[in-house]
Amino acid sequence: MSDGVSMPRDGMAAARRRRAPISSLWLLAPAALLFLLAFLVPVGEVALWSLQGDAGLTAEHYREALGAGPYRTILFGTVQLAAGVAFACVLAGYPAAYCLASCPPRRRTMLLLLILTPLWVSVLVRTFGWIVVLGREGLVNSMLIGAGLIDAPLQMLYSRGAVYIAMVQVLLPVAILVMFSSMTTINRSLLLASRILGATPWRGFLHVFLPLSAGGAVNAWMLTFVLALGFFITPALVGGPKENMIANIIATQITVTLDWGLGSALGMVLLVAGFLMVGAVALLFRRVTRLSGHGGTR
């Protein structure tokens, strides 16, 4: 009550406020340490390997990785596939995320659980599942034959389409979750406002909900794209040797042909390509991504 009591308390609060930025930085330490030891150091080492020739430093591995030839083709193919898979995930996941974000809390919890369950199963198991479904004697073929629609089993496994479907299936929950969480920050009364101001449900969605949720969609694309770039098991199992992605090639260099220099160079190229793509998309959509988090809570 008296000044004598309140003054020191204010002083202490001010001191706490001054110290806060430094003390809260310590909270980053565990993550930063892990990042340093488990990411920066190994990547640095890989970068060194990629430049090491038989006689000192060389750009020869990069010439091989980026020059005209099978590696460049596979690299482009991988980026293309990852971009396509990520796009398909966003396209297929958006309505699902919308549905989740719009439904009442109890049903929402149940649906979320359903969407999350596939994530509990390992990617390996899920990929094997696709072999069962798409194989020569698989579910789809036997159903089609049973229905008399085809005479001989279709070749579905070991194709680009199979890789596509399997990767989208594996990554879809991630895309849904990212978009769902951004949609929950959108204030629903904005949609009511659009309606009373003269917008049909569709135009309200187009002018209000879509722009506000676009940031989440872009984020979902970036995340699934980066994850898809490094996909390894799925293409190997359902794609077969001719549908190799760059991650499979790198693995072969490291474990089979033992050409660590080329493997490292390919790895570095993949890393940089990923950064470039994500950076370009982030730059291109910076207006919409800045909006996410400002989802009209005020």
Binding site: L190, L192, V208, G296, R298
Partner: protein, 384 residues
């Protein structure tokens, strides 16, 4: 000091244009609620709600939370469908029409400005949805932003505005298409007192100029008294009373309304025979000639300002009290006092210069006229 939107009397260069701008009066619509019912599960939010709102009227639906006021507004806006009954705007039933076809302006409690659109785009939104030509949109948005004094801020994003400015944008967006009806859902709830009072005045001014019918929802009885041409008090989904602010204040028809609107002393009263009223807690019995209440238990509502220490003409009733507390409020002093029969009552006096303020424990004699006592039935008691 908050600048007012409508200082049209002040000689400034903008005055003439602003006044001319408002010449495009839209006339208000008639709104009829006809036996509207709405239940959420087993909870009846609105029982048989019937009300006619006249063109150009400023009607306030007043009630505490859960009284059904928001339900009534949502039914009118088209955000929820009534279980039964009809709603007509200018005689046309809108009950089956979606919100976008009802042509209503609305200001939301949290403003609901589109966060990804500038002030200009927010205000232009209703015009774009109505496919108004681009040229006209610019003109009309600029005109209405001028009215709410936000012209210079038209490129700002909503998050860069203060609460009061956001409120003005929401208001501009609701009136830009000159709707015959303007709905307002506690539009001032989030603002501080000073700003709220300034905006009350401005909203009232603009409504006068536009001539639209306003349906205003609030839980704040002071706001309702200050702004409305008529007030509807809702309680548990039923209309408790409808009337002008002064009718609601001077002639409440139930204990609830007497208590809800303004301050009052509520005391049990017994009507022994027509014309004779006893208020035991004040220790008084008096004759009321024009009074027509049936015998039985009633409540006496006595406004604090009706109890005075200074005798005046007709103040036939005298009550002796012991002063408990005196609260200085600038122009008035509010007292709490205990009667000889143990009841705590409040009275309020205009402060005059050489008045001596009675101290705690001092005895005072208060006088009032029989007509200052309003007898109200305890509806809750009789209906159960």
């Amino acid at each position: 000091m908050v600048p007012t939107m409508m200082d049209v009397n002040k000689p400034s260069s903008g005055t003439l244009t602003r006044e001319a701008n408002l010449k495009t009066r839209s006339t208000g619509a008639t709104i009829e609620f006809q036996s509207v019912r709405k239940a959420y599960g087993s909870v009846k939010a609105l029982h048989d709600f019937s009300l006619t709102i006249h063109p150009g009227e400023f009607l306030t639906i007043l009630g505490s939370s859960g009284s059904g006021k928001t339900t009534a507004l949502n039914a009118l806006a088209g955000f929820s469908t009534a279980d039964s009954g009809d709603i007509r705007i200018d005689g046309r039933s809108v009950i089956d029409e979606p919100p976008e076809r009802r042509n209503l302006g609305m200001v939301f409690q949290n403003y609901s400005l589109f966060p990804h659109m500038s002030v200009f785009d927010n205000v232009a939104f209703p015009l774009r949805m109505r496919r108004v030509p681009r040229r006209d949109i610019r003109e009309r948005v600029e005109r209405v932003l001028e009215i709410v004094r936000l012209g210079p801020l038209s490129d700002r994003m909503p998050r860069d505005l203060s609460g009061g400015q956001q409120q003005r944008v929401a208001f501009a967006r609701a009136i830009v298409f000159e709707p015959p009806v303007l709905l307002m859902d506690e539009p001032l709830g989030a603002l501080d007192l000073k700003l709220r009072e300034a905006l009350q005045f401005e909203i009232k001014e603009i409504q006068h100029q536009l001539g639209c019918t306003v349906v205003y929802v609030t839980h704040d009885q002071r706001e309702a008294l200050a702004m409305s041409s008529r007030i509807v008090v809702l309680r548990d989904g039923r209309i408790e009373q409808v009337g002008t602010p002064s009718e609601m204040y001077d002639a409440p028809q139930s204990r609830f309304v007497a208590d809800f609107i303004g301050q009052t002393n509520l005391l049990a009263a017994d009507v022994a025979q027509p014309g004779s009223v006893a208020i035991p807690e004040l220790g008084i019995t008096y004759r009321e000639n024009v009074f027509t209440a049936r015998s039985g238990s009633w409540y006496a509502s006595i406004r604090p300002e009706k109890l005075q220490r200074r005798p005046a003409e007709g103040s036939d009733i005298a009550v002796t009290v012991t002063v408990q507390e005196a609260v200085f409020l600038g122009d008035v002093i509010e007292y709490s006092a205990r009667t000889g029969h143990g009841a705590l009552i409040h009275f309020r006096e205009q402060r005059r210069d050489r008045d001596r303020v009675p101290e705690r424990g001092e005895t005072a004699t208060l006088v009032l006229r029989p007509s200052d006592v309003v007898l109200v039935p305890d509806l809750a008691r009789t209906s159960r």
